[in-house]
Symmetry: C2
Subunit: 527 residues, 2 copies
Amino acid sequence: MGRARARTRRAGRAAVNHHPATPARNGSTLHPLRAKRLGIETQHEPIVFTHADCPVARSEGFAARAQVQLSAGGRSALATLYQVSSDIVAVDEVGLSETVWHRLGVSEGTVIKVRHPQPLDSMSFVRAKVYGHRLDAERLGTIIKDVVAERYSDVQLAAFITAFSSQPVQLAEMVALTRAMVEAGDRLTWPGTPIVDKHSVGGLPANRTTPIVVAIVAAAGLVIPKTSSRAITSPAGTADAMETMTPVDLDIPAMRRVVEREGGCVVWGGSVRLSPADDILIRVERALDLDSPAQLVASVLSKKIAAGSTHVLLDLPVGPTAKLRTAEEAAELSAHLQAVAAAFNLKVRPLLGDGSQPVGIGLGPALEARDVLAVLRRDREAPEDLRSRAVRLAGALLELGGAVAEGGGEAVAAEILADGRALTKFMGICEAQGGFREPPIAPLQHVIQSPVSGLLSGIDNRLLARVAKLAGAPRSPSAGLELHVKLGDRVERGQPLMTLHGESPGELEYAWDFAKANPGVLQVSPR
Amino acid sequence: MGRARARTRRAGRAAVNHHPATPARNGSTLHPLRAKRLGIETQHEPIVFTHADCPVARSEGFAARAQVQLSAGGRSALATLYQVSSDIVAVDEVGLSETVWHRLGVSEGTVIKVRHPQPLDSMSFVRAKVYGHRLDAERLGTIIKDVVAERYSDVQLAAFITAFSSQPVQLAEMVALTRAMVEAGDRLTWPGTPIVDKHSVGGLPANRTTPIVVAIVAAAGLVIPKTSSRAITSPAGTADAMETMTPVDLDIPAMRRVVEREGGCVVWGGSVRLSPADDILIRVERALDLDSPAQLVASVLSKKIAAGSTHVLLDLPVGPTAKLRTAEEAAELSAHLQAVAAAFNLKVRPLLGDGSQPVGIGLGPALEARDVLAVLRRDREAPEDLRSRAVRLAGALLELGGAVAEGGGEAVAAEILADGRALTKFMGICEAQGGFREPPIAPLQHVIQSPVSGLLSGIDNRLLARVAKLAGAPRSPSAGLELHVKLGDRVERGQPLMTLHGESPGELEYAWDFAKANPGVLQVSPR
């Protein structure tokens, strides 16, 4: 039995049945699909839908959940394709989620080409990293460029993030990752130095020192062009709180005008495209609740380097339910941050602080803004912990930026706050950003009283943040909670522990139910 | 300024505005949602949709892409929630993907409760693993139970898989993972021993020895209740090929009847629930193209242990584009498999083979089935490589199962095939499974000829599999390709290299385009 003959067994018959049509160079141009907007919010995850009988999906051989490339009018986007047997899309339509709709910039009915994406070659570098190899600057650069181009699925991003968390950190790799993230986005430049900045490593609710620190430092004559984030998993980000008082959605020219006039600003970082890889990676890191030192360092420093900062103060709250659990963890992170920053000629100073409980009274955008205003206005009822923390940070930043000699910063900061210059500067910044308004007050409030008398022995920051979010923060600006007690306080039965604020009865009920079901939120030990 | 006084600043006002309604015990019972079937195919990924103005989503505070728990009529399912602003769902509806629809077993309009899921506590064990800790049997058991309950998102599964791939393998952990996977599903038991089985570590197209091996071994009197998989990333799984000849979708009682009558079967493993965790993990492993030894071992062995096997032959094809690239890799994997199998009193024998090129002529369900039939029928044109490989495997399995003395297995297997007993047994098995039919032939075929004369110096198994899939395999049973040449063959210009088979012109065109654009599929070196 000849093998060669055996293997051509069916070839002869095939030649007879040979399909005569000339294959098109690109099958999808034969079957254009029309765009349909499905209005699906996916938090940046690009997903699209075709009908199960769609000829393009059939001829391209797309399986359910295939990665596909869409293009229209010179723009393109990658997306995960789902197949649909109902009438939400017709056979000649492709249904787009909001992310894809905006990325392609199409209109209803625009012709879209859908095809297999180019292979994601840089995933082989990720696999090499998983298997224990170091990544050099070039490979990390390729990966990060593909991440920013949104060519990575969330599952692939999870592998990248997990690989970094699974293996010991190496300085050269952290520097390379930071550099790759800086270079994959825009960079701001400012005339003159120093350009000062601050960053707080999260995990502590409220801690809304930034607007106060910016006001004090700018009033002292330093330049502090601050970009802040919105909440990802917390009840409010600095940008959310600031937005209850003034517009924060400024583009780069508008931000420049504010900084030129006032020496400082507090704008939302999302409207400037600094280290966009960080925004993508952080979403998956939060979903996994994973933080590798390498990624935390690259995340923090890439944003600062891209923002043109030269001197950065790092606020590192340490506490049992904060991101940094112990002083050792904070020290290790500080060492990494300083080593990597040095490679970029960036001066950083870490400042450890108490992270055992929220700072201030309010949790939620408007409630945190009210705390900020109370401190700036020197209200008798202003939260002392927020005031003293902001003064300490501002003082350290004044020293780091060279405005005040070492050891004298805190006194100067306290004076600028006390004599009203900080308030004047803050109002000037708000005016420059588009005008000041008072933060709103929630229409619905509910006081939660202590069921027993005793000592407040524990606060779970994560559960407390959850209560504020269930009450509607940050989506409803006035929602959240006020915390009326601090660790170590003597509490009487029936005494108010916290007040829930909400804009809808349902949300308030949910927050209340959750707080009742989780007594660990605030632990009162009878004594 | 008294801190206690400061912190009750707004409490007094709050008490006045105190929202008087009594909170409901469960907000979602106040606003039931009606099920709407959206017909979205997601390959087991559970996704659901609510309207942006849905009162439940608002009162529960669900963000876009929140994980939610749905329940109806005593059944529940976890899913990722997307919010929609178009009319594909109404404000009082929840739109279900097919996975969720079937898991809940609901009808159009059924009332569904949607709420926050219980926290996934076992994710903390995954994080511990990521940070380099070993997982004990109890923790692995908890993780795997949650995986089988579909409480893990794909992103979380990716972290679990990556963590295992990033770290050195330890025997105790592999045993614990295997045991956890066995215990999270059903187990088959059979009267008497031995119960023999075979498994091929994939990556090599076609290699469809299983139906032949089962026929030979069962004809020799051994019991071989074989469950096989469908294609995940290949042009055909054994179950797909077998299904072109006989039903494979048998439940456990039906499978038992076949095995009692014939001593063997070839059924689809998906209809019996053996090691269901493996089916879930493997989907994400394939998406990442990651395989850790621990997961490969647990995947292979958990299925075999759950199937009640006592003696398993492992077919390990080694080649540059197979899963196992070198003999060292195969030896290392064999050692792991044998060490873990020993802990379960399971005998395994690895058999290394040539994995440099496809086995047989056809790639695709019906084309591979035709190769199998040609061997069983002793056609003069039957592919010799498939015949000899199947005989070698069957011989080794006869020895492993004690039916033939060591060294004599291959001769006995060859005899059983040559004298027609294997064909008779195969037809008996097909009859018992529901009847035999001839595999279909594709209506459209296209021959690809060699553009040059020379020597066939390379075959890229992965690209070749891709061509067969673009032609429509395995979705279109008769689609795929026939390969007319083998490595080292002398090829003349114009000689047929392969014949594409398809059920639609578009798919055939795509396969053709891809083959032309990728000359590395078959490398002909001029000489």
